[in-house]
């Protein structure tokens, strides 16, 4: 299966505004993510699991989905996606600091367990792979009612070893449900390299087994990601059934703040990956293309940093959940 890529000096048919928006989304997610790492290292946030290196494809999908209309069953690295759809740095900092007003879970779940009813982002737990079946379910509901909403769902390549993932692909394909399955393949499941996880390097090859279109896209190439996302969403929305997209992405951080990848990774390889960071490359590419100036880029960083500072301030000032609320929302509350 060929990997979709963009030639260095190609705009891939995307206008300047779209390209700038993509860059803005990517940078915004990255700055937030880095800020959370800082909070973690400062001992103010006990846990973080990062999306750094995965942003491009998430931004691409976020921009091609209809927020609040389509259905989203994401996974823990999808910070950038949630931001594009309409969640805010403040929302996630509330979560990172386990504040009562965290819209994801009211401080009940670990950070990066996304949920937003308003945006049809359904609540995600920690058990990897389960959300693909939920996505088949939201899409089935849309199909039963004859609505044109599509469902987007994602997971890592490691999670595709779970039986639920097969069950979801098989069912969605059999019933031609409007689901976009995105596999964010960073080649690692915590410490386990893909070679011990699966027999072939491309998860998208499995699309054939289900009679689905499969695509592999270079996750370090935002424009290629955008085109693949547009095509995948259009396919799902056309009623032709699901589509399986695999993005080759980089895990530029340890698995989570509890992990230390130096124990099991070749550091020179990691260094090489850092050189391929899509955010850095995309910035130069846009500047080369004349879509962005150095000044734009630095103004943008200033603006986003200010937003982040404000968000952090607000989140820090917000109260923790009151212990008296711990028993709430187990079942419907009868009044």
């Amino acid at each position: 299966m060929a990997v979709t890529k963009t030639a260095p000096r190609d705009q891939a048919g995307l206008d300047a505004e779209t390209l700038r928006a993509m860059y803005r989304h990517m940078l915004r997610a990255r700055l937030l993510d880095e800020r959370i790492w800082v909070l973690n290292r400062q001992g103010r946030a006990p846990f973080w699991i990062s999306g750094i290196g995965h942003e491009a494809v998430q931004v691409a999908f976020g921009m091609n989905l209809q927020a609040g209309h389509d259905w989203i069953a994401p996974y823990y690295r999808d910070l950038a996606l949630t931001l594009v759809l309409g969640m805010t740095p403040r929302d996630h900092l509330l979560s990172v600091l386990a504040r009562a007003d965290d819209p994801n879970s009211g401080g009940r779940q670990m950070p990066a367990h996304y949920s937003c009813r308003r945006l049809n982002i359904i609540s995600t737990g920690s058990c990897v792979g389960t959300q693909l079946l939920h996505a088949a379910g939201t899409a089935l509901a849309s199909r039963i009612r004859g609505e044109d909403a599509v469902t987007f769902t994602s997971c890592g390549e490691g999670a595709t070893s779970e039986g639920d993932v097969h069950e979801a692909l098989n069912f969605a394909a059999t019933r031609r449900l409007p689901v976009i399955f995105l596999i964010e393949n960073n080649g690692l499941a915590i410490s386990v390299p893909w070679e011990k996880q699966m027999p072939l390097p491309n998860v998208a090859d499995r699309a054939m087994a289900y009679g689905l279109p499969g695509m592999v896209v270079d996750g370090e190439d935002p424009m290629a990601c955008f085109r693949s996302a547009r095509e995948a969403v259009a396919h799902a929305r056309s009623g032709e059934g699901p589509v399986l997209v695999e993005a080759k992405v980089l895990r530029l951080t340890s698995h989570s703040s509890d992990d230390d990848q130096r124990r099991y990774r070749d550091m020179s390889e990691l260094e090489a990956e850092r050189q391929r960071d899509s955010l850095v490359k995309f910035r130069s590419q846009l500047i080369d293309l004349g879509v962005l100036t150095e000044a734009d880029a630095s103004a943008l960083r200033t603006e986003l940093t200010a937003e982040l500072d404000r968000a952090q301030e607000e989140a820090e000032a917000a109260p923790l959940p009151d212990p008296s609320t711990a028993m709430r929302h187990v079942l419907a509350e009868r009044s």
Partner: protein, 327 residues
Amino acid sequence: MAEITFLKAIREGIRDEMERDASVFVLGEDVGAKGGVFGVTEGLQNEFGEWRVLDSPLAESLIAGVAVGAACNGMRPIAEIQFQDFILPAVDQIISEAAKFRYRSNGDWNLPMVVRAPFGGGVHGALYHSQSLEAIFCHVPGLRVVAPSTPYDAKGMIVSAIRDPDPVLYFEHKRAYRAIKGEVPDGEYTVPLDGARIARAGADIAVFTYGMMVHTVLEAAERMVPAGFECEVVDLRSLRPLDRDAIVASAKKCGKVLVAQEANLAVSVGSEVAAIIAEECFEYLDAPVMRLGGPEIPAMPYAPPLERFYLQTPDKVEAALRALAAY
């Protein structure tokens, strides 16, 4: 009022709700043309079409997980698991996902979904078509678990389960399907999902039970009458939450308690009932709490002598009641 089977009562409840509410749909293995292996959904696909009575692939985690997603998106799925024994591949979706969805989203999401499954033995079903595995789910906050024993409750509780905003596991004793008949009103009615039922009033020995065992216990209770003992038979019906007040009231009233179930005893519904009584009725008991249940073997064997060994019978219950009476 018509006298109908337990099975038909469930079907009527499902049918009425499907007619009333377009968001209700059925999902499971063989639920369509075949109408389920026991016939509970017979005729429904003809009436409501392929998408509202959907034959799923052979995958129980799928059935539960798809129900979770569909419930997020405005539907009220009724997921059928062909035998309760085969619910185990769906345990992760039920316990990790369905039970925790509301709580983990701080009340933002809720899942109006029902998971139905036939349980229990005595039909030569051997290890994998006879189990009573409800204890596993009764441990888990965020779920409701019910097991009606009469056609009246079967219909009223399936309707309540479908309308409930949270996940309800609805377990049907497979031997009750055709063996148990009873009067069921024609119109719409509901039975609450959290109350026990006094199946027989008495003041001498309180018996707590559920499912098909209710009928076994009632038979044994009648045999105690000539000797002057009136048993109070409490049909728990709702296994999570248990109706603590009703349990405590009957236990206090009678002072002697038998807990009887088909399921294995260790860490079971019967354990919890006994524990509640041990906590709350200390000053009211005239005898130790007694429990009857499946022996310590992994599941009911096939050969008739072994199956009989496993099952509780009116004789075994009667023997326990006599021992309690004599205490």
